[in-house]
Symmetry: C2
Subunit: 114 residues, 2 copies
DNA sequence: CCGATACTGAAGTACATACTTCCCTATCAG
DNA sequence: CTGATAGGGAAGTATGTACTTCAGTATCGG
């Protein structure tokens, strides 16, 4: 067990990467980074309809990147930092593989040279 | 200059995230992590056509995640570790924002509590 | 030279995704 | 109560994306 790629419980990395692939969703996360917002508060500067924002939020929630809570008639949206762990972990795991590869390559060039 | 989000030269993060969103492309990167491969070498265990793999490789190249070099009639594909820097940077930058937010939140709860 | 190998290009298809509009429900302000 | 505000649900559209097949074009082995 060296490649501990499947970690972090549930969130499959694919969902997260795909969620982050959309510029509008990244914009939403940008705004949420500044603090919690309502759905219409998010929709305002984005120049898309409320419905579209709600759909993006559903994606972000499914990916574990945001949480929402409805209080009165207002749904408050927050960022979910833990959702990013899986992705960072995935990259870190893979990066360690490459570097190991590259180190190995260096050794091979040094000792197994013609 | 605090939010150094637009760094790392060219690669826009969107492309990278989107490229990583596809499971087939992640599988390709997995195999490339073990070392360079030819296009058909990648296609074999993936159960898709050569053409499809070539298209995925085009996406990975556009995202800066892989490089290819054609020698004879064989195109050799390698992973490009630097391509991941932008993404890690993006996450790191944003994470610092949230944690700052959360720290602030803690302070607010302590002094400005209802 | 000749057939197999390793791709490349163009085009087509099926499904996903990012939106929209329209309408309906719950809540708050007066 | 009445109207405005905040959002939810369903459905339609339009573009994108992941594939495929069906041709080619180089290149290598014999």
């Amino acid at each position: 067990m060296q490649t501990a790629i499947a970690k972090q419980g549930r969130g499959d990395v694919g969902r997260v990467f795909q969620a982050l692939g959309d510029p509008t969703r990244r914009a939403i996360l940008d705004r949420l980074s500044e603090g919690p917002r309502s759905v219409s508060g998010l929709a305002g500067p984005l120049d898309i309809t409320l419905t579209a924002v709600a759909q993006h939020l559903a994606v972000l929630q499914a990916a574990g990147l945001a949480t929402t809570e409805k209080v009165g008639r207002v749904r408050t949206c927050r960022i979910e930092p833990a959702g990013f762990n899986a992705v960072e972990q995935w990259i870190a795991d893979h990066r360690s593989l490459w570097t190991r590869r590259l180190d190995r390559l260096g050794e091979l060039l040094a000792e197994d040279d013609t």
